[in-house]
């Protein structure tokens, strides 16, 4: 990343002036989706990409964010901006609870994945059965444009807000990846027992990762609710949501800073294009995701950015990297017992 500040600046400029150049509302919508998926996938990346604890249940945090701000807004008239923060806090608490149960009892690998899947389902069933949450009907958020109420008359404003969110979270992930926390997480991913024996408090680090990951995912949930103005259990708490959250990071490269953005830039347009071209057939976009997922797993198991780093990053800095095998995004696949 350090090598290409020009490229990063260029990308930022493109993102920043995009709404000035492109006026088409449909393309604006796609751009917002790209940034929004980059955001939630980046949040997922912190826990799953870096520490290797693959969550298949991030819908739990996403839905928590969406529902917290929306219920507080519709029932109490509280501004979703405050709801966003409360939602993030509640999601962090839920994340810590899931983390406590999972990590204290040493759920690893696929068991953790299946456990998170179950937790998301538990939350969905709870939401669907209590009147406060309008059961399966969902929550309709009345449209009254007011910046203080996180509602805007122009799509462009939504665009810039999600752009700022996505950049902030990506910067945070970059910062984490360079921090002690980041190195600890990667060490846990590569070999948890070895990390522990070297004095890394694996439990504490994983708990920090899940709390950050959960609260950032919840922020994505609040944004989704305010942008779509309608949420229901099926679009916030279902497995499909969890899958959509993890896909960009997996395709782009889990455990890399740019992976979720690259993944989102690739799969969201493909999903939207296939939906437009084959609009009569529901599910074409998900089928395309499935095909891409299979191909990436077969041929680029570390994702696009991971592959790129292995191919081009190593050559230049092979000597530097030799003594530190834990430089992010590499060798995800080598350790398996």
């Amino acid at each position: 990343m350090k090598k290409s500040p020009i490229l990063i600046t260029l990308a930022l400029v493109v993102f920043a002036i995009f709404p000035l150049v492109v006026k088409d509302q449909y393309y604006m919508h796609i751009a917002i989706l790209i940034l929004y998926y980059a955001l939630v996938s980046q949040a997922w990346n912190i826990l799953s990409g870096y520490s290797g604890q693959f969550s298949f249940g991030h819908a739990a945090f996403f839905g928590t964010g969406a529902y917290t701000s929306s219920i507080l807004f519709t029932k109490l008239g509280m501004s979703p901006w405050i709801g966003l923060i409360i939602g993030a806090v509640i999601a962090a608490v839920i994340g810590l609870f899931i983390g406590y149960l999972s990590f204290r009892f040493k759920l690893r690998g696929v068991f953790f994945s299946l456990g998170t899947l179950a937790f998301a389902e538990i939350l969905r069933i709870i939401i669907q059965n209590f009147d406060v949450f309008n059961k399966t009907l969902g929550v309709l958020i009345p449209y009254k444009p007011d910046p203080l109420m996180f509602q805007f008359s122009s799509r462009t404003t939504y665009y810039y807000i999600i752009l700022i969110f996505a950049i902030a979270v990506t910067a945070l992930v970059y910062y984490i990846s360079r921090s002690k926390l980041g190195y600890n997480l990667v060490a846990i991913r590569e070999n948890e027992d070895a990390a522990q024996s070297l004095g890394v408090n694996t439990y504490k680090n994983k708990m920090i990762a899940i709390a950050i990951s959960a609260s950032l995912t919840a922020i994505g949930g609040t944004f989704y609710a305010q942008y779509m103005l309608f949420i229901e259990p099926a679009t916030t708490f279902s497995n499909d949501v969890s899958i959509n959250i993890l896909l960009p990071a997996i395709i782009g490269g889990a455990g890399t800073v740019l992976g979720p953005i690259v993944g989102s830039l690739i799969i969201i347009p493909i999903g939207e294009l296939t939906t437009t071209w084959f609009g009569n057939f529901v599910g074409v976009n998900l089928m395309a995701y499935g095909v891409i997922l299979i191909l990436v797993m077969l041929y680029l198991p570390e994702g696009i950015v991971g592959w790129f780093q292995n191919k081009f990053g190593k050559k230049k800095s092979a000597k530097k990297n030799k003594d530190s095998s834990i430089s992010g995004g590499e060798e995800v696949g080598t350790l398996k017992n």
Partner: protein, 289 residues
């Protein structure tokens, strides 16, 4: 009150047999290849459609189309193993999980495109739907499915214990390299194991067609329960899978009788989480693998 409990018990046990059957396929695949197959529910759904279309177009009773769906899915399963999973055997386990997730997405959405999201059901004429035994209704198609599930598990158990091929499958599941050194073609065993796992899903699908709606997303209902049952019984443990299925079936039925709305579904996942925490190797832990 007592009738209600007994009725729930009967319903739960019958449904539990089906969950067990789905789980046996999962556990067989896991036992041999150490892969948790997310696509198992989608394969079950394909089995259901084969029986459904055979019934609609050819008028074949779903029970008679079981061989058709079992054999078709055996080849589809073996094909998936050959083209995709055989290349993933040494990949990290979460990547294996993700690739089967991709397979699930492809199969389910292909079905959605081909056959629309409609819920379809088969109405069998001239067929006794419920038997009344001492005030307790026994759903006949469910009873048949339950009996078939038990017979199949016993048959599979004997096949693995007594036949050469079964022994080769078990040898591969215990130690792949050891099996290879003893002259077992482990690649072939993988095809057979995945094919068998897919057939079991298809048979379960055909068996439930007479009393369960057929739709492209029906697999999701079963795959989650399948995971729960498999973990409950211990991954790779056949008898455990059946017992796990019965536990989930009964707890769900009792939950349905006493909890409002769809809260009964909570039972399954809460049991799952507790088992994951307390006995991650399953209730009969240690024996697994």
């Amino acid at each position: 009150m007592l009738t209600l409990i007994l009725q729930s018990l009967v319903d739960g046990i019958l449904m539990g047999g089906i969950y067990g059957l789905v789980a046996i396929g999962l556990t067989l695949i896991f036992g041999v290849m150490k892969i948790i197959n997310f696509a198992q529910g989608a394969l079950l759904m394909l089995g259901m459609y084969i029986s459904y279309w055979s019934f609609i177009y050819l008028g074949i009773n779903p029970y008679l189309s079981i061989p058709l769906s079992a054999i078709s899915l055996f080849f589809i399963g073996a094909l998936i193993q050959k083209t995709i999973l055989s290349k993933m055997l040494n990949a990290p386990e979460h990547n294996q999980l993700l690739v089967t997730l991709g397979i699930m997405l492809v199969i389910e959405n292909l079905a959605l495109i081909l056959w629309s999201p409609d819920f379809r059901s088969v109405k069998l004429d001239g067929f006794i739907q419920t038997l009344n035994i001492g005030g307790i209704g026994v759903n006949v198609p469910k009873l048949i499915a339950f009996i078939a599930a038990i017979v199949l598990s016993i048959a599979l158990f004997l096949f693995l214990k007594k036949t050469m091929l079964g022994k080769a499958i078990r040898a591969t599941s215990i130690n792949r390299n050891g099996a290879l050194l003893s002259g077992i073609n482990t690649n072939r065993i993988n095809y057979i194991a995945f094919g068998l796992g897919a057939s079991l899903a298809a048979i379960a699908g055909s068996l439930i067609t007479p009393f369960f709606y057929t739709s492209p997303t029906v697999g999701a209902t079963f795959i989650l329960k399948g995971f729960v049952v498999v973990v409950l019984g211990g991954l790779g443990n056949f008898i455990g899978a059946i017992i796990g299925g019965l536990i989930i079936g009964v707890s769900e039925a009792l939950g349905g009788a006493f909890l409002p709305g769809s809260l009964k579904e909570l039972m399954t996942y809460i049991i799952f989480v507790i088992v994951l925490m307390a006995k991650p190797n399953g209730l009969f832990g240690g024996k697994a693998r």
